[in-house]
Amino acid sequence: MNDMRIVERDVTASSAKMAARGVQVYYGENHALKDVDIDILDKTVTAFIGPSGCGKSTFLRCLNRMNDTVASARVLGSITLENEDIYDKRVDPVTLRAKVGMVFQKPNPFPKSIYDNVAYGPKIHGLTRNKAELDEVVEKSLRKAAIWNEVKDRLDAPGTGLSGGQQQRLCIARAIATSPEVLLMDEPCSALDPIATAQVEELIDELRSQFSVVIVTHSMQQAARVSQRTAFFHLGNLVEYGETGQIFTNPSDPRTESYITGRIG
């Protein structure tokens, strides 16, 4: 009977790609994130949900040290990528961010050509040796981001001239051009129409064969559609973390239940 079950949600890799232990984040006096323990699984889409100000974006930004850029932010505890502490003094945050890529809420292509948007990362990290290799990386990334066919004849056109959905997929192509191991997405579809959203969601599902994807979303339906694991944050606490189907049919914490059924903001 088991072979008749829905297999999409199966997570083949159960090993942890990233692990957080006892993570606390303070913005000045404000204790924004309290004692978070979580394992981000390899080749899995993990969704972070929770009301505004619950700490989900803060935690996402810890995963590639984006909080380093916030002067008042203090991060305590440990976060590892493949068992290596990413907050170790010897870790260069720029190199880390090539391994842990990020896509933001609003599409933010560089004011450069489509080609240069994607080529930028591999160039500054010295990932390619010559133009031919760079061309290949650009094409491969644009193909993976499901936008190649739409832009292949105008790679020299400015990235900012694309539609919103295309810009977001261009940003995803830019993020995956450095062959990251983890891709962080902070509300990647909130500025997109339903068709572009569906394209990005389809893309996320394809990307999970190669990367871990962590997505912060306010759309519970989106979390349910794209993720295999869901983490619910509330008032700076990680309240519940588990298999997405389980969280949406029978959550164990009453706060999760109240949130996903639309009873607390």
């Binding site: 049919t249 029978n250 999760t256 239940e257 996903i260 059924t261 639309g262 009873r263």
Partner: protein, 241 residues
Amino acid sequence: MQNEKHIVSSFDRDLEGVQATVMKMGGLVEAALLDAAQALDTRDEELANRVRAGDAAIDALEDQVQSECARLIALRGPTASDLRTVLTVMRIAANLERCGDYAKNLAKRSVVLNSMAQIEGATGSIRRMCRAVVLMLKDSLDAYIARDTKMAADVRQRDHEIDQMYNGLFREFLTHMLEDTRTITPCMHLHFIAKNIERVGDHATGIAEQVIYLVDGRLPEEERPKESGLRAMVSASEAEG
């Protein structure tokens, strides 16, 4: 379970509406079963015909519940306990609809039986069995309203008693038929009636299990206590043979 209200209050109204409809169905089904059994016992053809005509209303309510639930799923995207409520309501409506059909069938057969010789004590026994089953049905619906898994578990246990009543009636009819072949036709009708009432007990048990699913998020695992009814019947017929 959730006692808190949704932020979107129209969601609560939709959920309450569909649950009220299913409870109305339950009331009609209980009345139909008791009336049909009374019609059988008192040879009241007019009452039997009223029961037969009343089934259309039960069917219409079921259609209403199913379409409202489909709409609720499409428009509200219910999750967690809300999702389980909708799924449970749909299954309970289907259970009740079947029970309504059995009441209608009982009424139909009672009209046929009115033209035949009475079988000593049979209709009274069937009426008692029907009362016991309706009480189970009522308790399963009360357990639903109260989200009471203890009460639901109790209903599941009681299905055993109904099975025993049915097995007793089966033996009784068999004895009649063996003693006097002219009773075969009425006894066959009475046997189908008893079997159908026993099936109502199974639907009440199904509703009780849905209540447990609704509250706990999973169906009860352990098997219900069940003496093999089939074996009891076979040994009974062998004894008579």
